[in-house]
Symmetry: C2
Subunit: 174 residues, 2 copies
C-alpha cells in the first residue's frame, strides 16, 4: 500500500496495459485505479506514451536482472536448464512485466528486441559445447519453443504447464 503517487500510477498502468492493452486503456481508468487525479499522470509522465516508456524501462531492468546470470554460466547443461526453466519461474508479482512485453510485440510498432541476441548466442554456445550438429538452428528452435511456452503460461498459468517443463528438460537431457 504505497503512498508514492508517482509509483502508484506506474503500477496501475502496468497492470492495465498488461491486462487490457495500451490503446484500450484510457488515462481516466489509470487514474481511478491508482486513486489519483487524472492530471497528475501528465505532471509526472508528460503524456501517455511517456508513461508507457517509463514502464518499459522498469520492465527492461527487471528482465536484465533475472536473465543476465545466464550469460555468466560456464556449464552448458546448466545454461540450457536455466533458460528452459526461466518462463516457469517468473514471480507472480512480475508476471505483468512479461505479459506487457508479449502484448506490445503485437500492439504498438514495437522495435524488434535486439537485446535478446546475447542470450541467443549463449544458447548457441551451449549447444555447440554439448556437441549438437547444428547449434545455431537448435538455439533458434529452442528460442521459438520457449516463446510459445511463455505464451501458453501467460494464457493458462504455470501450474498446468509443469509437465511440459519436465518434458522439455528431459528432451534436452538437462
Amino acid at each position: 500500500m504505497s503512498t508514492d503517487r508517482k509509483e502508484r500510477i506506474l503500477l496501475a498502468a502496468l497492470e492495465l496495459f498488461a491486462m487490457e492493452g495500451y490503446h484500450a486503456t484510457p488515462t481516466s481508468k489509470i487514474a481511478k485505479q491508482a486513486e489519483v487525479s487524472e492530471g497528475l499522470i501528465f505532471r509526472h509522465y508528460q503524456n501517455k506514451e511517456g508513461l508507457l516508456q517509463a514502464i518499459l524501462q522498469a520492465a527492461e531492468r527487471n528482465f536484465q536482472q533475472h536473465l543476465s546470470p545466464i550469460l555468466e554460466e560456464s556449464n552448458p547443461q546448466k545454461t540450457l536448464r536455466f533458460y528452459i526453466s526461466f518462463p516457469f519461474e517468473v514471480p507472480e508479482e512480475e508476471v505483468n512485466f512479461w505479459r506487457l512485453q508479449f502484448k506490445l510485440k503485437w500492439e504498438v510498432n514495437y522495435p524488434k528486441n535486439q537485446k535478446l541476441t546475447p542470450f541467443l548466442d549463449k544458447i548457441t554456445w551451449a549447444f555447440r559445447e554439448l556437441g549438437y550438429d547444428n547449434p545455431e538452428l537448435e538455439a533458434e528452435l529452442l528460442f521459438l519453443t520457449i516463446e510459445g511456452v511463455s505464451t501458453a503460461i501467460l494464457r493458462d498459468g504455470m501450474e498446468r504447464m509443469e509437465s511440459t517443463k519436465k518434458f522439455l528438460l528431459k528432451k534436452y537431457g538437462v
Copy 2:
C-alpha cells in the same frame, strides 16, 4: 479492384486491424482506405465490433478450409509434415487473417480457441502411431513450437525461416 463496397470495407478493415490493431484503428481510417463514406460502415456492419466479428467469421472459414484436410490424413508422417509446413505455406494474400488471429489473442479478451482441439488430437494420434513415448506431450510441445514459429514468420517473413522449416522436418523425421 472489387467494386462491392461492403467487401471493400471488410478487406480494408482486415488489413488495418491486422497491421495496426483493432483499438488503434479508427473507423474514419477504414473508410478512407476502402474509399467509401464512413457512414456506410455502420449501415453494413452496425458498429465497429460487428465489423470485427464479420472479419473473424471470414478468418474462421479460411482457417477451416486450409487446415481441415489434415484431419483426413491417414499417414502419420504426412500428418506431421503437413502440420509443420503449414505456417510456411500461408499464401501472401491470406497472411493478414493469421496476423489478426495472433494479434487478437493479446488485444481483445479473446475466447481461448477451442477449435484447435481436433488438430491437437490428430497430432497426438500421429505421434502415437509413430511409437513416441509420450504422444500427448510431444503434440503439445510441437503445437507450442509451431506457435512460436508462426510468430516469427509474421514478424520477419517466411524467407528467413526456410532453414528452420527444414530443420524441424528433419528433427521429426518427416
